[in-house]
């Protein structure tokens, strides 16, 4: 398996349990390729960091204001 072929399967490794024959191929490639191992680990970490940080928080005062505006608009229609 080449790095390009590994990369094409990266999402499979990240998202779901991979079927046994493919998993064996991927793991074999990983054992011999530090670059792909780092790519897999840091991509996994990228997703984890984005999931665990609320980067666009909705503050309570803005939330209240939005609720009032939505209520007023919906009542008019």
């Amino acid at each position: 398996m080449t790095c390009t072929e590994f990369l094409a399967q990266l999402d499979e490794m990240l998202d779901q349990p991979v079927a046994a024959p493919l998993r064996a191929d991927l793991e074999e490639h990983l054992r011999g390729c530090e670059h792909c191992e780092i790519t897999l680990n840091t991509t996994r970490k990228t997703i984890e960091i984005y999931r665990s940080h609320e980067i666009y928080e909705l503050p309570e005062d803005l939330r209240d204001r939005l609720h009032r505006a939505i209520r007023a608009k919906c009542r008019k229609c």
């Binding site: 840091t42 984005y50 229609c77």
Partner: protein, 186 residues
């Protein structure tokens, strides 16, 4: 009306977050939230129970956000197909491992700022796929249905978005490492 208000309270944070991911601007995101819920209210009778209310609402919000982005760019067409033909991130270049753990190096607000700056540089068509799949946790099928894309298109954009974000974050984390090494040498 009371039942609808309950739905607003249930989904407003998600809709705001998705809108911010697309428009990258707080005032526009506020308008998107208002317009998306208003449209959902007006079209409630068209909502068909075969898709979940949330994915139906997200589809409305994504369309509103893309329209808003187009207006801001004064008439320049903005679609989820824009700039997706880039090669950036297709082959990882920055291959240093992230050690020590970046989350130990940055405070919460500093990290959030880095994440905002990083995702801002992605084309809208990548940002939205990443936001729906990886941040909001929609399935590939739901994301495809919401955006009107094929499943292979969602998968390909998601991979590219993840790799571009990884590459960009790597550059940030490396700068911090280098700065610490320099400070240590002084």
């Amino acid at each position: 009306m009371e039942a609808f208000e309950k739905l607003v309270r249930q989904y407003d944070r998600q809709v705001f977050r998705i809108a911010q991911h697309i428009v990258q601007n707080r005032e526009d995101a506020e308008d998107v939230v208002q317009d998306a819920f208003l449209k959902a209210y007006e079209k409630l009778d068209q909502f068909q129970g075969n898709s979940k209310f949330y994915t139906w609402l997200v589809r409305i919000a994504v369309n509103e956000a893309l329209m808003r982005l187009r207006k801001r760019r004064t008439g320049r067409m903005v679609s989820i197909d824009e700039d997706v033909e880039t090669d950036e991130g297709s082959m990882p270049r920055d291959l240093a491992d992230w050690s020590p753990d970046p989350e130990a190096l940055y405070g919460q607000s500093e990290m959030a700022e880095i994440l905002r700056k990083t995702i801002q540089g992605l084309p809208p068509g990548f940002r939205v796929v990443f936001a729906l799949r990886d941040v909001e946790g929609l399935s590939t099928e739901e994301t495809a249905e919401t955006l009107g894309l094929s499943i292979p298109a969602v998968k390909s954009r998601l991979l590219r978005a993840r790799l571009q974000l990884r590459e960009r974050l790597s550059r940030y984390f490396k700068r911090r490492d280098q700065k610490q090494a320099q400070d240590g040498a002084k």
